[in-house]
Amino acid sequence: MSLREAGAITGVGETKYMRGTDRTPISLAMEASLNAIADAGLKPTDIDGIIPYGMGAVAEDYVTNFGIADLRFSATTPMGGASPVASIQCAMAVIQAGICKHVLLALGRTGYSGSRIGNRVQQMPQFKTIGEFEMPSGAIAPPQLYAVMARRHFEMYGTTSRQLAEIAVTTRQHAIMNPRATMQRPMTIEDHQASRMISDPFRLLDCSMESDGAAAVIVSAPDIAKDLRKKPVIVMGIAEGHPDSPSAISQRPDMTTLGLAKAAPRAFEMAGVKHADIDVAEVYDCFTYIVMCQLEDMGFCKKGEGGGFVENGALGINGRLPVNTHGGLLSEAHMAGMNHIVELTRQLRGEAAVQVKDAEIGLVTGYGDLGDGSIAIMRRAA
């Protein structure tokens, strides 16, 4: 038994992405969810399963606000930025089991106006180990924790900061063509190189932004999905993967390999597609380096060759593999990757702001919590 094509994305929605709001994460999450439900042509009471992001609104908030009489399933997938895509796997499993018909995945956050990520990380139980053994040395925030992986990659494979800049610049080019994106100012490689150092080798423009807003996705049973308002986007392959030494990057045998390296072969096998079949990829981009590393871990190039792979606009809308066509976490908004699922769905419906021509098959990844990974491969409906 496999989850191949056991679920379809039937609705997507978001709020306006902001940097500065007095609204609560719950209010934002409700708005995005209502937009996703309307996009699917459903009523809020049709939702019978909820997988909220691990922070902000909980399942009870949705039940109360939507008047859901009999919620049949709720769970969280505690994998940080890998959670939204991993939640698709969870949703498909409960759909295939016959528990649910329409599962809502939603995230609302005030990453800009609320407490900053650098402060939150210390309070999270999955960071207990590094909280005791690494944070007292001053290694507290993701840019520092992940910079060590990038430095190792630089030293082992000759990867350069200018290669990472290519990712930031290409992503910004997409954002400028997407009215939903926060970052609209053009960026050059020189701008990236001149941006201030945060934690070597990461400069400011290697880092994603903090955002306020929400995004939501509906996963539905495929037999019902075909009769809804929009053409469904079918999930062909789905997987999550956890890296070696998941709670401390320092102890990971190969710190240049992420959990996605375990998940990606499973997802490709389930989907029955090859890399050359992928028309568009929305790749979790908390940092430029993480995009490059995931392209290697998925097998688009060999380990160590990611720097060369991303050069010369290869990830651009007209490049060999269009990546983060919405502007990603780097330039659209930091919605922990829920916005990447929203974007892939729009690409495969043919309704994206920056549309890859004739996109038929695409993938979306998640990454978080020091190395957890997730991947979904999707196709447009026939």
Partner: protein, 136 residues
Amino acid sequence: MSEVYDKLVPDPAADTKPFWDALHEGKFRLQRCADCKKVRHYPRPVCDACFSMNAEWVEASGRGMVHSWTITHHAFHPGFKVDLPFMLLTVDLEEGVRMQAQARGIAEGDLKVGLKVKVGFERVKADLTLAVFEPG
């Protein structure tokens, strides 16, 4: 040693306290499986090689080689602002585990994978000593 220490501090539990107690005595100890003798770090209840829950603490050399690093220029916590920029090393210890700590007395230009370092001890407040890495 400053009067007010406003950086993050460890909150040791039964499984990890011997590590911190040893550092505070100027000794560098690692946890080892009492049955199959595999050294593990960071300290935890179960040996992942033989699943034994019997552990012991052994004196370690403190010698190692740089595996990777970052130099932090931005204060993510107000307590560390005075240290900026600071160098964080991830080090392969001779005992086969890694450790992460701030560097002391190492120039940025000398950093490379394989650079030899050794553990040093910094008493940062009355009840806390942190490990650092010094030229080895």
